[in-house]
């Protein structure tokens, strides 16, 4: 796509080779990142399409737009597509793939061919998921709770389970590649304490990929086998315990929420210093808090099961541990805020997204504290309060971080600038639309509206109408960048090598970079975020 009008440009990874084969068989981490970018965007719109249908159905209390079974499939596939095929791979597989080798000063990831294999596994899983959707879909909820999924649902549970199973190996291999690259491929002088914070958060994310994903893989495999052979492990009529499934599922899926948020936190930790022209306040604390989140994240899973019939004492333990994992997030929020103190702040699009991230993540995180609180969770569990909580973090937080990062590194990836005014406009639209969609859901939840409801008592309608209205604004906010980013590929103004005056090895290369990133291996002699010594380009100075 971008190979068209670039013949006059310098040689770079985009025009180094031509033809579809040079893309499908590439081992260049940057090209693979682009392959991911395209496929992930596709799945985002699939998931978003389901979201719009959900919101339309909920416009009225009666179940009138779609059938009950269809509605159940809609939210299931919305959740599964968004979580497994969009948000989990989003930042790691696109920005991570593109940036990790460049940030450490390497020519490629440690295992380039395995990296390509990851993408193919992702595509295989994705195609299976699409097949599953097109041949009738699944209706178990994204959580696959047994015994409904094993013994009662007669939809394509097996296909969906296998799709996520395959996709899991894509995640594992990506994580493995990142950890090994960060350990083994750092350029001379790139010590751990000089690494950009994005690397720290990618590293932490990869730990979860490596240690968590296998557990969901085996769990879904057991569900599939249970359906095929009637093992009885999760079947209460044969002495199995359905709650065991929940333990195994959340052992992965809670840490997985940190897979979704940590990379976005890493992006924000790059953007804020750059547009404040300051080093990060408390670099060490921010770096360590990423690792702490990854490790503590494994200790809290049963907070999704407070009313599932677990023991009272287990509930107490998991509640208190949930508060421990909230601490490192708090540390990050405070440090980002402090970074802006006495900075020189510009409101470019990435910065707007980053500020939006802090605000919405804080709200989402604080409501997470409500949920971790036993007395409150009993009331709001499985209501729209939970829906609002996680959309605040995943859409308001992670997705905003992703868009911010995409804008921030767009000039590096494509060599062209996106139109700034449109960027700021759509960031504002996303922010407003988002709050209108999901804030009413907190109130709905506390009022007692259960989630996964196809029809609901009429007294909940007013708030649902707000929510649906917000979702349509949100849709505009997401379609806009789609349009102008594509537009900029051809018409955007050429970006220099370092249009933001940003720190980090990736900005010392040309835009777009050459196939092997660096002509010669760089030697790092400066700290991360050394903004004191990086000149600010003239245009940025004037633009504010």
């Amino acid at each position: 796509m971008a190979t068209a009008a670039v013949t006059t440009e310098r040689e770079n990874y985009l025009n180094a080779e031509y033809g579809i084969k040079s893309w499908l068989l590439t081992t260049d981490h940057k090209r693979i990142a682009l392959l991911y970018l395209i496929s992930i965007t596709f799945f985002f719109f699939v998931g978003g399409f389901f979201a719009l249908l959900i919101r339309l159905e909920l416009l009225t209390p009666a179940g009138d737009l779609v059938l009950a079974d269809t509605y159940n499939k809609l939210f299931t596939m919305h959740g599964q597509v968004m979580v497994f095929f969009f948000l989990i791979p989003s930042i790691p597989a696109t920005l991570g793939n593109f940036l990790v080798p460049m940030m450490v000063g390497a020519k490629d990831l440690a295992f380039p061919r395995i990296n390509l294999l990851s993408w193919y596994l992702y595509i295989a899983g994705g195609l299976l998921m699409l097949l599953c959707i097109l041949t009738g879909g699944v209706d178990t909820g994204w959580t696959f709770y047994t015994p409904f999924s094993t013994g009662f649902s007669n939809t394509n549970v097996t296909e969906a389970g296998l799709a996520i199973f395959i996709n899991g190996f894509s995640s594992i291999l990506t994580g493995l590649n990142f950890v090994v690259t960060i350990h083994r491929m750092r350029a001379p002088g790139m010590t751990w304490s000089r690494m950009p914070l994005f690397l720290w958060s990618t590293y932490a994310t990869s730990i979860i990929f490596l240690l968590g994903t296998p557990v969901i893989a085996i769990t879904l495999l057991l569900v599939v086998m249970e359906r095929a052979f009637g093992l009885g492990i999760f079947d209460p009529t044969r002495g199995g315990d359905p709650v065991l499934f929940q333990h195994l599922f959340w052992f992965y899926s809670h840490p997985a929420v940190y897979i979704m948020i940590l990379p976005a936190m890493g992006v924000v930790s790059e953007i804020i210093p750059c547009f404040s022209r300051k080093r990060v306040f408390g670099y060490k604390a921010v770096a360590m808090s990423s690792i702490a989140i990854a490790v503590f994240g494994f200790l809290v899973w049963a907070h999704h099961m407070f009313v599932a019939g677990i023991s009272l004492y287990a509930a107490l333990v998991f509640s208190i541990l949930s508060y421990l994992v909230a601490l490192p997030s708090a540390v990050k929020v405070f440090n980002w805020t402090a970074t802006m103190y006495k900075g020189s702040i510009s409101f470019s699009t990435p910065m707007l997204y980053a500020l939006g991230f802090i605000g919405l993540f804080t709200i989402g995180g604080l409501t997470g504290l409500f949920l971790a609180c036993l007395g409150i969770d009993v009331h709001v569990h499985d209501t729209y309060f939970v829906i609002a909580h996680f959309h605040y973090i995943m859409v308001g937080g992670a997705l905003m971080g992703y868009l911010g990062g995409l804008h921030f590194w767009w000039p590096k990836i494509t060599g062209r600038m996106y139109p700034e005014a449109w960027g700021r406009l759509s960031a504002m639209i996303v922010f407003i639309g988002f709050n209108l969609t999901f804030f009413p859901q907190f109130i709905l939840g506390y009022l007692g509206m259960p989630r996964r409801y196809w029809q609901y008592p009429p007294e909940f309608q007013v708030l649902n109408v707000f929510s649906t209205a917000g979702a349509s604004i949100l849709a505009v906010g997401y379609l806009l960048p789609m349009v102008y980013l594509l537009w900029s590929l051809r018409y955007g103004k050429l970006a220099g090598d370092n249009p933001w005056g940003a720190s980090g090895l990736e900005w010392t290369t040309q835009s777009p970079p050459t196939t092997f990133n660096f002509d010669e291996t760089p030697e790092v002699t400066w700290e991360a975020y050394d903004y004191e010594h990086i000149p600010l380009p003239m245009e940025v100075t004037l633009e504010r």
Binding site: Y145, F281, A285, S319, S346, G359, D382, Q455
Partner: protein, 330 residues
């Protein structure tokens, strides 16, 4: 318009006020935190906005003191929230002594409710106000969840075992009963009503309801019908233990452990006798799993429990007690 937009559901149980108090505290705390952070950010971004006067950013390393402060202070606040929430959870999970019992069976997609007196209801539950009610719940198929927003209570209903829930309604009225755990096609149709009545009214309702015989009486005939007395006789001559003093007492098991015979124990002893063998007996009791539906099981359990009635003074039927309790001012 806004008077129609409440922020919380009616407070209709003794728990509701406690939960709401904590909730309001958390909302205020969050509001305070958010406002503090957002104002700080707004001040910073306006005050230190990039200017054309060429003023540069001032590089600051960080501050260990600050890091410690903003780790320890939130930790303290978090522990407070945890403790407060844990106290409420304890109140919700630990049953009061003198409770009236009602059996609940969830199935795709309806709620079946059995009163000890024998009344059966579907998707509607009548209870007296100002009386502690314990729900003994199970499911016939998948996991459901019993949720009454006005009472601020919720508990998953898991197939294969009993889970329990208790509440004390304070306000007569009609409230939502939701199934809040996704359970298939008509999950959103698995809704009903909780009708809270003044005790006297409730007493009257009990007599009008179609009498099927009390739960325990039905259990007794089932007990005979299934041939249980061949082994469980009232004297020590049967091959099985005497059941008249089992419920609520510790039972010594063959493997040396001691367990208290609660509802789940009785249920398990019938469905799956081999799980816990009573000391001194052989594991000969047949497995009744699959032969009994959940309602019949509930009747048997109620019968076995009725053989060992709780000590004088405490009563197990909402009806009797409700007639005696004076309605309290909520």
């Amino acid at each position: 318009m806004f008077e129609n937009l409440p922020l919380w559901p009616a407070r209709a149980s003794t728990m509701a006020g406690n939960v709401d108090l904590l909730y309001i505290f958390l909302v205020l705390l969050s509001l305070f935190t958010c406002v503090a952070i957002f104002i700080t950010i707004v001040v910073f971004v306006t005050k230190y906005r990039r200017r054309l006067d060429g003023r540069e950013a001032q590089q600051i390393e960080g501050s260990v003191l600050l890091e410690i402060a903003w780790t320890v202070v939130p930790l303290g606040i978090f522990m407070l929230i945890f403790a407060w929430g844990a106290i409420i959870y304890f109140q919700e999970r630990v049953l009061p002594r003198d409770v009236a019992e009602i059996y609940v069976v969830g199935k795709q997609w309806m709620w079946k409710l059995q009163h000890v007196e024998g009344q059966r209801e579907i998707n509607q539950l009548h209870v007296p106000a100002n009386r502690d009610i314990k729900l003994i719940m199970t499911s016939q198929d998948v996991i459901h969840s019993f949720f009454v927003p006005e009472f601020r209570i919720k508990q998953d209903v898991v197939p294969g075992r009993y889970t329990t829930l208790w509440f004390r309604a304070t306000q007569p009225g009609t409230y939502h009963l939701f199934c809040s755990q996704y359970c298939g096609t008509q999950h959103s149709g698995m809704v009903g009503q909780i009708v809270v009545m003044e005790p006297a009214q409730y007493q009257a309702w009990l007599t009008t309801g179609g009498a099927f015989g009390s739960l325990a009486a039905n259990g007794a005939s089932l007990f005979a019908q299934l041939g249980c007395p061949t082994c469980h006789q009232s004297e020590m001559q049967g091959r099985g233990p005497i059941l008249s003093e089992v419920y609520g007492n510790p039972v010594r098991l063959e493997d040396g452990q001691t367990v208290v015979a609660d509802d789940n124990y009785i249920r398990e002893s019938i469905v799956n006798p081999s799980a816990k063998i009573v000391s001194g007996f052989k594991p000969i009791m047949p497995v009744f799993q699959g032969l009994l539906n959940e309602e019949q099981l509930n009747e048997l359990v109620a019968y076995v429990k009725s053989l060992n009635p709780p000590p004088a003074g405490s009563v197990n039927s909402p009806g009797i007690a409700a007639a005696e309790t004076k309605p309290q001012q909520p």
